[in-house]
């Protein structure tokens, strides 16, 4: 759906994006990851046509990005806010019309969303009279009110309380099911695991990793397993695996092992079963958090 091709963005004395290419599939929930200052926001601003790249191009549905695409993209910036002294209904109308909706359409859509979020009574309130969490809700509506095909959320959960975060997550998933493609920019890895099907990791202006979350995790599997058993394992020295951690309690022995190349978990089981009672054998798949830290550190 969105092809980012060889994007370079140069500021006076630093390169914000260095030859970054990313493919984002139709209907996916895509995580754009990276530490602070990696270049995520620069990339998002380019996708939103707020700034232009120095080199490279971006295609949306095969078309080179142009002003007509503005109405197809919904953007929730990390630095966000509303006109404090403006009434909320009026403000939503203004923002929706800026996205290209007619006044009639905009009114209908806003009413729909206000009802969905249970905030119909806020229409004539001023933004300054709302709490921060309430403002975030309004802001989210402003992002999606024009029914965009591509929704870009930059740190969407910062400032949300858990209840609102849950609500917004639910809405995001629903929009995704209706066909919207979603780009998440975040460094909160638990929401990445929970929501994203693909990710790209940007570090020091370069893309250092991308693909499906499943594939990436597979890539970072290193045959580490956790086993638990009761009984006495003898001999512990075996060519099948190395023990990296050992812990004993009253009921069982817990081992973290790394299976040596050429062997599988079945071989380990075959080795264990005659000697002990196996209560657990689980593969330890690295979390996105681990992968993130590992990549950024190197």
């Amino acid at each position: 759906m969105l092809s980012i091709r060889n994007i370079v963005k140069q500021y006076a004395n630093h390169r914000a994006l260095d030859n970054v290419s990313i493919e984002i599939g139709q209907g996916s929930i895509f995580g754009l990851l990276g530490p602070n200052g990696a270049g995520k926001t620069s990339l998002i601003r380019i996708i939103n046509q707020i700034t232009a790249p120095d080199q490279g191009e971006i295609l949306l549905n095969g078309e080179k990005l142009n002003p007509s695409h503005i109405s197809k993209i919904g953007y929730l910036p990390e630095e966000r806010g509303l006109y404090k002294k403006m009434e909320i209904g009026e403000q939503m109308l203004y923002l929706a019309q800026l996205k290209g909706l007619s006044k009639v359409d905009a009114t209908a859509r806003i009413r729909y969303w206000f009802e969905k979020m249970g905030i119909q009574s806020w229409w004539n309130k001023k933004v300054e009279d709302l709490s921060k969490g309430m403002q975030q809700k309004v802001q989210f509506i402003a992002t999606v009110v024009h029914d965009p095909e591509l929704i870009i959320l930059d740190e969407p959960f910062s400032g949300f309380d858990p209840v609102n975060a849950q609500l917004i997550t639910h809405e995001i998933l629903e929009l995704n099911q209706k066909g919207a493609t979603i780009i998440f920019s975040t460094h909160r890895m638990e929401s990445v695991e929970q929501l994203c099907d693909s990710i790209a990791l940007i570090h020091k202006s370069k893309k250092i990793l991308d693909g499906k979350v499943k594939d990436i995790k597979n890539l970072y599997r290193n045959n580490t397993y956790r086993i638990a058993y009761s009984g006495i394992l003898n001999p512990a020295e075996t060519p099948l695996f190395n023990i990296t951690e050992e812990k004993k309690d009253d009921e069982a022995t817990h081992l973290t092992i790394q299976i040596n190349p050429g062997y599988s978990s079945n071989d380990v089981l075959n080795f264990l079963i005659p000697q002990v009672l196996v209560t657990e054998l689980t593969e330890i798949v690295p979390s996105m958090n681990d992968i993130f830290i590992q990549n950024v550190k190197n």
Binding site: Y11, Y75, E79, G81, Y94, L95, L98
Partner: protein, 434 residues
């Protein structure tokens, strides 16, 4: 372009709907009318305060006595000068006019009172004394005063402006006042509305709405929308001021004029009325003068120079607003904007007024940064059309230039948070490609 219109509408209506706008719009014309009414009130003066002047005539020339006028009444007094002086010291309402015996040979007429006698009282006395003195001197010289009056030519010069469109009465005094008022109005409004533009941008930046908006529109559209919207607010305010002032002034002057005419009729013999109505009191002069000002010429020129100057300076204010995070940081950048305005303002009222056709005045009224104010001051003295056209053309060029410069700073500035910015930094932003 549809989107720019949306922005203009928001900027315009969010300001016009404010209470402060309404208050300003109605308060200012009322103040103007108030001052206008005050001038009338002062020129008419209440009847209860007419000083009663006692005249001690030691010369014996003025034995006819002085005629009562509406500014003062007169009575002969038999007191000596010393007694009269004593009376003045005791009585604060006493006025004593002393005419010394040596008046024919250079003596001075003196007026004693605790309160200072008004200018109109003094001038009434002076003219009466001079008239009687003249009659006496003529008689001494064997000339009949009546004969002289008959053969005295009554010539006066009426100043008329002659242009290709025909001739018309001119009153350079009123035209000058209007020109100066226009210059002051432009000077103040450039600041008032320019700062509104700057504040608006700072507000968008600090509330962080700006990034949401510029994901929908180009930064240039947002900036221009704001500038045009606020400019229209200014224009609306001016037009309302002018309409309200003219409306109120017409009503007020009719009431006052009528009242004054009745008062005059009851006081004056018919033959003198015409002369009095045309020359008596500054109030009448204002009405007459206001009517002689060529409004259809001054108003459009004023609006063109206001809009041009506003566009030029508000673009600079916009650039400043985009570069800072709060009002308090604007100071260092305001200086280069304030200086040319202040300079022109001072030059206008110290130099241009006295030398409207000098080459410095010419250049000040041609250079875009100074012309909005300088031209308004020069206008009443007559400015050739080609100079006006050149000045307007350069002003338009000037605001296109400042808008271009400002928009290049603006597009970078609005996305920069929490950064202390220097002029060098602004230069760097200006050079950024996109």
């Amino acid at each position: 372009m549809n989107k720019i219109l949306l922005i203009i509408k928001r900027e315009y209506f969010s300001r016009v709907k404010k209470k402060s706008f309404l208050i300003m719009t109605f308060l200012v014309p009322l103040l103007i009318i108030g001052m206008y009414a005050l001038v009338f009130a002062l020129s008419i003066k209440g009847g209860d305060n007419i000083p009663a002047v006692e005249v001690i005539d030691d010369s014996g020339i003025f034995n006819k006595g002085l005629e009562d006028k509406k500014s003062a009444t007169f009575s002969k007094s038999d007191l000596t000068l010393t007694e009269a002086k004593l009376k003045v010291v005791k009585n604060e309402d006493a006025f004593v006019l002393y005419i010394p015996s040596d008046i024919s040979s250079g003596g001075t007429v003196e007026m004693f009172s605790q309160k200072k006698a008004g200018l109109s009282v003094i001038s009434t006395i002076e003219s009466q004394l001079n008239d009687q003195m003249r009659t006496k001197l003529l008689a001494d010289a064997g000339i009949d005063a009546l004969t002289l009056d008959k053969i005295k030519p009554k010539l006066s010069v009426v100043s008329k402006e002659l242009t290709l469109e025909g001739e018309k009465d001119s009153s350079s005094g009123a035209a000058m006042a209007v020109g100066f008022a226009a210059a002051i109005l432009i000077y103040m409004s450039l600041f008032i509305y320019g700062i509104q533009v700057m504040r608006g941008i700072i507000e968008e930046k600090t509330s962080r709405i700006v990034e949401v908006v510029i994901s929908s529109v180009k930064p240039f559209q947002l900036m221009m929308g704001k500038i045009i919207g606020i400019g229209l607010v200014g224009l609306t305010q001016f037009l309302l001021w002018i309409t309200l002032s003219i409306g109120l002034m017409t009503v007020a002057s009719q009431i006052i004029f009528k009242g004054k005419m009745e008062q005059i009729q009851s006081e004056m013999p018919m033959s003198k009325q015409a002369a009095v109505a045309s020359s008596d009191g500054p109030g009448m002069d204002i009405i007459k003068a206001v009517q002689t000002v060529n409004w259809t010429y001054i108003l459009p020129v004023f609006i063109i120079f206001f809009l041009g100057g506003y566009m030029l300076y508000s673009a600079l204010f916009a650039a400043v607003g985009s570069a800072v995070d709060s009002d308090t940081e604007t100071q260092q950048f305001m200086l280069p904007i304030t200086l040319p305005l202040l300079f022109t303002y001072i030059m206008s009222f110290s130099f241009i007024v006295n030398n409207p056709d000098s080459s410095l005045s010419f250049w000040l009224s041609i250079i875009p940064f100074t012309s909005p104010i300088a031209m308004m001051v020069r206008l009443p003295f007559g400015v050739p059309n080609w100079e006006l056209a050149l000045s307007i053309a350069l002003l338009i060029g000037g605001f296109i230039f400042t808008t271009w410069v400002a928009s290049r700073i603006y597009r970078v500035g609005i996305l920069m948070y929490g950064k202390k910015v220097s002029f060098a930094e602004l230069g760097k932003w200006f050079m950024y490609k996109e």
